[in-house]
Symmetry: C2
Subunit: 116 residues, 2 copies
């Protein structure tokens, strides 16, 4: 979404889409909704995301103040991610969006199924 251009747009929708409007961001936020997780765990939970894309997704979410990254200097290394307060306030909106979609997706599927 040309993130860096829209981040400081004067339109709040452009700005929030710069934070949320990419393929994996809402999913990553949702995955962290009630837990802290390590890089590898997030990767496993989501399944189909590549490591490279997960890396940049996490980095951008951290930049935007949505999540915290904590590095433990152990061996093998451990890095944990969890939502910030700002990130947490996003959860109800994400859930509402998913609910909205589900309702209308169901409607559509039902229509398709009952048409001859």
């Amino acid at each position: 979404m040309a993130r860096n251009i829209f981040k400081y747009s004067d339109c709040p929708m452009h700005r929030s889409m710069a934070i949320l409007g990419s393929k994996w961001k809402p999913i990553v936020i949702y995955a962290l909704r009630e837990r802290t997780a390590r890089f590898g765990q997030i990767h496993a939970i989501i399944g189909s995301i590549s490591k490279k894309v997960l890396t940049t997704t996490l980095k951008e979410l951290e930049e935007d103040g949505i999540l915290n990254r904590t590095e433990y200097r152990e061996l093998p290394p451990r890095v944990e991610y969890n939502l910030t307060d700002k990130g947490r306030t996003l959860i109800p909106i994400i859930i509402q969006l998913a609910k909205w979609d589900n309702e209308h997706y169901e409607e559509k599927r039902e229509k398709l199924e009952t048409t001859p």
Copy 2:
């Protein structure tokens, strides 16, 4: 957002982002929140969108059942757009998102302003 791939994903977040997650869609929906408008009017309201991009934005929103397109065969031609019921249920979510962003954007601006 690779719209056609995610439209029928089994993840509701991918599906709703396929509908909403592009540069202009939330803005167009918001512009039509309480009125019907013609192509040229939408173009004027939004200002910086190109006619080509507005055309595809409107077409996709119509395909996804978010808005109605009504063509009046007059001269010069008249085409009106307005939200469907499904589209209207999206408005409170869009407003919430904008509000969410504004709150945290203000916070950030205030912090920047009060730092030496």
